[in-house]
Amino acid sequence: MIYRPDTDRVHYLNHTAVLILELSNGRNTPARIATLLKNAYGLPEAPEHDVNETLLKMADEGLIRRASPGRPRPRNATRTQRRP
């Protein structure tokens, strides 16, 4: 559960969304996060679509932001980072 006083909004995350948020630390790409989930839970495929959708929602809500721009990266390799 996250409360953001600046927006007066409460965000409820289930355990998978929490993992995605915690792994959005600027070092993992979305594809890497999906792979980590796949390995952790023994999934047959990496849940890339779920991860990407969740990251987009989190970015829309301001929970994460794109990492500082460096070299342009393909969309599916964009790193994300939790807001400080």
């Binding site: 409360y3 409460v10 289930n14 355990h15 993992l19 952790a40």
Partner: protein
């Protein structure tokens, strides 16, 4: 499950927390639900109910306003520590303030949805509150209260769960009356608890 890899990819100071998150869980599709806390104070509810103050207010509008305020009171946890209304169960069950903050926030967020829909219904009602657009909003508010009950079932147990669901039931029945045009507002039956 082998959590070492995922833990190794997380920040070191977050690994203990992630261990707990991972413990005993299976994969579920990620869920991110967001609630606005705007307008959840009783004062805001009064302001919203005031939409009828500059127009010819019908009995149903007044009733709808009372329901809106009662939802806000429930969300504000006004029963914690305060005297119970004569019809409230005895002993007075704890209010939201006795629940963990995370659960309080989730429950209040859900009630906020119902409260907002009630306020929108008042606005659509334009001093009548029995027209179809207003009734549609009130019906949706009732559904949000049903979801609140489901949430209580998931998050709470025991007396507090029974109390919260009982209060929500009361509000749902009142909205049912409102939608059916039975708007006998006596100014008291929806006041779940009173501040002194």
């Amino acid at each position: 499950m082998a959590p070492e890899e995922i833990l190794g990819s997380a920040d070191p100071n977050r690994r203990d927390f992630l261990k707990k998150v991972l413990a005993g869980t299976t994969f579920a599709a990620p869920v991110l639900a967001t609630f606005s806390m705007e307008g959840l104070s009783p004062e805001a509810a009064w302001a919203q109910a005031g939409n009828c103050s500059n127009m010819t207010t019908s009995e149903c509008c007044r009733f709808a306003a009372e329901i809106t305020i009662a939802i806000a009171q429930l969300g504000a946890g006004c029963c914690s520590g305060g005297p119970a209304a004569p019809t409230a169960p005895t002993p007075t069950p704890p209010g939201f303030f006795f629940l963990p903050p995370e659960i309080q926030a989730l429950l209040v967020g859900q009630l906020g949805k119902a409260q907002t829909l009630m306020a929108e219904g008042l606005d659509k009602g334009n001093g009548d509150c029995t027209n179809p657009p207003a009734r549609d909003k009130f019906k949706k508010a009732s559904k949000e209260l049903s979801k609140f009950e489901t949430l209580v079932d998931e998050l709470c147990a025991g007396g507090i769960a029974d109390f919260l669901k009982g209060q929500a039931d009361l509000l749902i029945r009142a909205i049912g009356d409102l939608v059916n045009g039975v708007c006998a507002s006596d100014g008291s039956r929806l006041l779940l608890c009173f501040r002194t």
